[in-house]
């Protein structure tokens, strides 16, 4: 496999979730099959972000959700051997995927709202304009959706191009793809990208439940998402998970020169939508499949060279069907002799990490290649027609696809090439 100095590589991964902190700990969760039992959501309410930050003062004016994101960024610094002098500040960038404002952001106003109740017990909004002036001056700032972009940029001295995406489950993937484009266009030399979110609180779980997207709480001993399962095993919904995940990207030549450990090569990515409006996706997966094919074509990679697919696998029936149909359109007609790629899912262990989803997987690709087969907890049912083992035909099949899909009929994929660890 020819390696070029200007190709993009992943050199650091930072992860914080309800299950663990750091990529290695998450890989161990998968290897051990550590499924959360009886979890309606994977909450990080008790997470202590300050323990992971060199400058805990950054947490003073941010939300608990932001704190999770900053802790994951600190992990990127640690695992990616980041140093302040490695790259000039104007050539360093940060791309984040974040949630919109949370109802938690309103908590500082609760006292003011209660103080503004009038005689009949209803809130006098006029009086609230006065009582709210006793809230902390920085109350609004904690609710900004770009806090992690701001403070994370300070952490990395990142003064170059940047952005913050609030596109639901695709947010982290969009951040990585846009960051990679900036590197490819020579507008940056080093960029950190990924996403974070925390939706396990009552309002969001209630909202997603009413929208019909969330796995209903049941009496099963193992209450976990079962992607692609049908019949009696069918689980009709996702499990929300709090968390954050970021990767560091740079060019191979520079990464090698500074002695950074390379985890995978970033080849390309793509996005698409069904264009059907909110909460509507095409069950046939046409736009989804065409996005995958377009990404492969642009990269000059044939479908037969894909050895590993890390799927979205949300557990939402309609979306899982759409995904399988999309994958069948791409990989289903390649002939009887074709050895299908391994199809892995992480949602049983991690839940749906929302804005952070599809990022841990970027760090796991080369480990899975080295491992040769999927840990049991990552396997998909045989009925979907893919393998649990990575094909042996390397080096030809050295590529992995990481997929994201949202119930809004929006899709993303990132194409990586393995790095021998």
């Amino acid at each position: 496999m020819t390696q070029r100095a200007d190709e993009l590589v992943i050199t650091g991964v930072g992860v914080a979730s309800a299950g663990a902190y750091g990529l290695e700990a998450h890989w161990e969760l998968l290897r051990q099959g550590a499924v959360k039992a009886n979890a309606t959501a994977y909450s990080m309410r008790d997470f202590k972000a300050a323990a992971h930050l060199k400058e805990p003062r950054l947490l003073k004016a941010v939300s608990a959700t932001d704190a999770i994101g900053l802790a994951a960024l600190a992990d990127v610094q640690r695992t990616g051997a980041w140093t302040a002098d490695a790259y000039p500040a104007p050539r360093t960038g940060l791309y984040t995927g974040s949630p919109g404002p949370s109802s938690f952001d309103l908590c500082p106003y609760i006292e003011a709202m209660e103080a503004a109740r009038d005689g009949d017990g209803s809130i006098d909004e006029g009086a609230f304009g006065r009582t709210a002036m006793s809230a902390r001056p920085t109350t609004l700032l904690a609710s900004l959706a770009n806090n992690v972009l701001c403070y994370g940029s300070m952490m990395f001295h990142a003064q170059g191009p940047n952005s913050n995406y609030i596109s639901g489950e695709l947010s982290g993937h969009l951040a990585v793809q846009h960051a990679a484009k900036r590197l490819r266009r020579q507008q940056l030399d080093y960029v950190v990208a990924g996403g974070f979110g925390a939706h396990s609180e009552a309002i969001d779980t209630g909202m997603y439940t009413h929208l019909g997207l969330l796995l209903a709480e049941g009496s099963e001993s193992t209450h976990t998402v079962m992607p692609y399962a049908g019949g009696e095993d069918a689980r009709r919904g996702m499990v929300l998970a709090d968390g954050a995940a970021f990767v560091a990207l740079e060019r191979r030549g520079a990464a090698t020169a500074r002695g950074a450990k390379i985890l995978a090569t970033y080849i390309g990515g793509g996005i698409a939508s069904d264009g059907l409006g909110p909460l509507r996706s095409d069950p046939e997966g046409v736009a989804y499949s065409r996005m995958i094919l377009r990404t492969l074509t642009q990269a000059g990679v044939d479908p037969t060279q894909i050895a590993l697919i890390l799927a979205n696998a949300s557990g939402i029936d309609a979306l899982d069907s759409c995904e399988i149909n999309a994958l069948q359109r791409v990989f289903g007609g390649l002939g009887a002799a074709y050895e299908p790629p391994a199809l892995g899912v992480t949602t049983r262990v991690f839940g749906n990490l929302m804005e952070a989803s599809g990022i841990i997987e970027l760090g796991l690709v080369s480990r899975l290649f080295a491992h040769g087969e999927l840990p049991a907890v990552m396997t998909a049912p045989a009925s979907v027609g893919f393998s649990n083992r990575l094909p042996s035909r390397t080096p030809a099949a050295s590529y992995a696809l990481v997929l994201k899909a949202s119930p809004w009929g929006e899709y993303s994929c990132i194409l990586l090439r393995r790095e021998d660890l």
């Binding site: 919109g100 304009g129 940047n162 596109s167 209630g206 736009a287 009929g409």
Partner: protein
């Protein structure tokens, strides 16, 4: 400027449609005419009871009606006020662009929007949040506070399958969305992108939030003169609301289909100040580099820029640092560009500001008119820029630049060129 062989060659990007909703009017024409007339329709807030809040004034969109047939009843449940403005602005922009079915491959048509925070309101808090009614069936409507809903509806409205992107970088949100839309076309990822921004923070939570920060004007007794960018007596911004949407298109496609081209987008710069969440670096670190990047991106000499629509919020620090930044990049001599902030007439449209202000730049280029600088009673000597006159003025203009500067440190600059 010679082409850097390491950077991919770019395609030309043109604007073929614009739609707007602001306090000045529910379409671009009314908004533009209001600016030419120097109107400042700020008044006492009516959207909620602001009578006891420190800032009681805003530039409100009143009597807004979303035309029938644009969205379904089902979609209406997913949208908040600002998103309604956005839908209307998209419809106007698409009508002007006159993209007929089949003229663009849906997979090459994308949506890229800058959206505001879409905070919940007091009524919702009273009904759901405070009593903890998490089993209330109406909780599904909470989704309208998720900013990405608009992009999904817009994609359905225009038939876009090329992907939806929603950006939030505070006041730089739509400046950034326009920049990314421009790059998607310039680097061949899409042929047409519907882009822009929508926002409404004229609600209790947002207004008191800015009040707590001391960022808003307290000139409640003179609302029409309260937003006074670059004036020595400025005391904060006045909230606006609305939307502005633009159709960006590959020049070759626009030319092939005979579209009317309104302007060319020829440069984008984006930086992070890495200073403080609300304050600007005193020497303009961030905005300076964003403007330089935008000029370099399109190979535009600074001397060719005749007009800058400044971020110009009317806060002490923004206007002083932005003016110093402009002076650093463009100089202060007789050839320096004319500068204005149209927030004195639209209010601060927050996440929609960047899109609205680029649209104003485009109209300035099209009609060869400099927007007025109203409410400048005495220019602050600490703001060394050549402000436009107090009335709209005919001019000769080839290039215009629009700045956006956001809480959180994101800065964008976009350069537009006159289309002849």
């Amino acid at each position: 400027m010679p082409h850097d062989p390491m950077r991919p060659k770019k395609r030309r990007v043109v604007v073929t449609g614009i739609g707007a909703v602001s306090a000045l009017g529910s379409n671009l024409n009314d908004t533009w005419n209001g600016i030419l007339e120097g109107r400042a329709p700020a008044a006492a807030v009516t959207h909620f009871d602001a009578s006891q809040a420190p800032c009681k004034i805003a530039y409100e969109v009143n009597d807004f009606v979303l035309p029938e047939g644009l969205i379904s009843d089902r979609e209406r449940r997913f949208l908040n006020t600002a998103m309604g403005y956005g839908v209307k602005a998209v419809a106007e922009a698409m009508e002007q662009a006159a993209l007929a079915p089949g003229q663009v491959d849906p997979e090459r048509l994308a949506v890229c929007l800058g959206m505001g925070l879409c905070s919940a309101d007091v009524d919702w808090c009273e009904r759901i949040f405070l009593p903890k009614k998490y089993a209330d069936p109406s909780l599904d409507e909470h989704i309208r506070f998720n900013p990405e809903q608009l992009a999904s509806v817009v994609a359905r409205l225009v038939g876009a399958k090329g992907g939806n992107t929603t950006i939030h970088t505070a006041c730089a949100s739509s400046g950034q969305s326009l920049g990314e839309a421009y790059e998607m076309i310039a680097y061949g990822e899409a042929d047409v992108v519907v882009t822009g921004g929508a926002d409404s923070m004229i609600n209790s939570f947002s207004m008191v939030g800015f009040d707590l920060l001391g960022a808003m004007s307290k000139r409640n007794d003179a609302p029409q003169q309260a937003s006074r960018p670059f004036d020595v007596g400025r005391d904060g911004f006045v909230m606006g609301e609305g939307a502005c949407m633009l159709v960006f298109e590959d020049y070759a496609l626009a030319q092939a289909r005979g579209a009317k081209i309104l302007a060319e987008i020829c440069g984008y710069g984006v930086t992070e100040s890495t200073y403080r969440i609300t304050d600007l670096h005193p020497e303009g670190r961030g905005p300076v580099e964003a403007m330089q990047m935008a000029l370099e991106d399109g190979g535009t000499a600074a001397a060719k820029v005749g007009y800058i629509n400044a971020h110009g919020t009317s806060t002490q620090i923004n206007d002083r640092v932005e003016a110093l930044s402009i002076a650093k990049v463009f100089g202060t001599g007789p050839g320096a560009p004319k500068v204005s902030s149209t927030k004195s007439m639209t209010g601060h449209m927050i996440a929609a500001a960047g899109a609205m202000e680029l649209a104003i730049c485009i109209n300035a280029l099209r009609f060869q008119i400099l927007p007025p600088s109203i409410n400048v009673f005495q220019q602050d000597p600490a703001c060394p820029v050549a402000l436009t006159e107090a009335v709209a003025t005919p001019t000769e203009l080839s290039f215009a630049l629009s700045n956006s500067i956001g809480f959180g440190g994101s800065n964008t600059a976009l350069v537009a060129r006159r289309w002849l």
